[in-house]
Symmetry: C2
Subunit: 282 residues, 2 copies
Amino acid sequence: MLASLVLTVRTEHEAVVPRNLGWASHALFLRLLAERDAGLAGELHDGMAPRPFTCSSLVGGAPQGPMLRLAPGAQAWLRFTGLTAPVSRHLLAIAANPPAEVELDGQVLQVCAATVDAQAHPWAASDGYRELCERILHAPGPVPRRVRLEFASPTTFHTRNAAGQRVNIPLPLPHLVFGSLLDRWQAFSPVAVDPDLRQYAQEMVVLSRCSVRTRTLAFKEGGSETGFVGEAVFSTLNADRYWGRVLQVLAAYALYAGVGAKTTMGMGQAMRMLEPCAGTDQ
Amino acid sequence: MLASLVLTVRTEHEAVVPRNLGWASHALFLRLLAERDAGLAGELHDGMAPRPFTCSSLVGGAPQGPMLRLAPGAQAWLRFTGLTAPVSRHLLAIAANPPAEVELDGQVLQVCAATVDAQAHPWAASDGYRELCERILHAPGPVPRRVRLEFASPTTFHTRNAAGQRVNIPLPLPHLVFGSLLDRWQAFSPVAVDPDLRQYAQEMVVLSRCSVRTRTLAFKEGGSETGFVGEAVFSTLNADRYWGRVLQVLAAYALYAGVGAKTTMGMGQAMRMLEPCAGTDQ
């Protein structure tokens, strides 16, 4: 069971907050969950990766250097996603009965709307693993050879180099993007995907178009992370029906699972786009 | 011996030409060389990679879909670089005594200026391998930990995937960028660089910032190539004096050598930038 809950919020008085509120959004998510299910919130707080949820930063407001200015009455939004039934059920319940206000980094924000309805907000949704699979794996028509993803918040991959040092790769390399999605799919989905998808992504999926730039996020404790935002189109070198559709399934899953590192702290918010890629070619 | 000859040209009458004239610029380069040294031009025409020269496409004019419109009297430019003494000497001679006009894809263009003087054009230059090395390797002051490159024309890397298929990687991965520069340096420079630079680039150089987007070039014979344009900043994970300076040497060499595939056909035109990277962060 999958859910993406969007909370639309506003302040009564002007507020100036850090641009990256991913950590505060993460804390809010755990507080909201703890009010309903302290046991689950505790498990998620202490759990090891991969985590069955993601948290966005606050989207909206006017950037002012490293800060974000929220004008009185103007709306902004944030979202939480659930990758398992226990988490997603709580998100659906919050959508049905949202709190009147939430606190983010000491700022009290009025909740204007809460939804998991894709018609109500482009980043809201709910789905089932089996339903998502069925819909895409058994879709009529030819298998698309291309997958387009939008990376809306900084996305990066933590890997180790040959010398064993942790390195950041802030680029949409096909095997890293689909490898990350596969890991989360395999961790949480009741429907397994052939693990050779990773090898397929490495050998047969290429980046055919992209328009990306890096952004560095400051975190509360003084650290920072650099990731890329923008869009990327991946193409398959062959027209294999199974792998072609599995790539589409994983790309659709990105809306819930996020991509890459620190998706519980605002990074890696991504979405499959169905229209052709615009503005990346001349 | 290294040279980058910039030819500034204009048409008397309006002309509409293909946007990618790299192949025509390549043909012009060989014709100009053949007029002076038929033997050398023949060797370069038939030679195997890596080639001791690069050719840009025509820069300027107004894009109109896949074409470029040159207004009467408006200036555009193209350049040729030489990576060896025989080629560079001819480029210097052309700069001293340029032809009155050149022909590019059937268009006759007046040559308004020809220069290898970096003061006269940002993409013009001449240098020696030893001089370039001396200047950078023995520069006073701390070793910079960052290298910034601008990729002005589509840049890509042809590699083979694990399945042995040729794939294109249109992304500024540190080991591909510096590996490409190292290959050309080792092929043409009288001063060798430690070949472990490739391993250093793989293990200790990371992409710390970038702003890139792909562009697809159409070639005359109907093929196309996709590469990235934009800028990238690479950082070293340690502060090794030798490797840090060698990276700067190779980055400076990019102006002459180009980066990646098809640098004799207009791709991979790149330049080291000394100012801080702008516009890639928020």
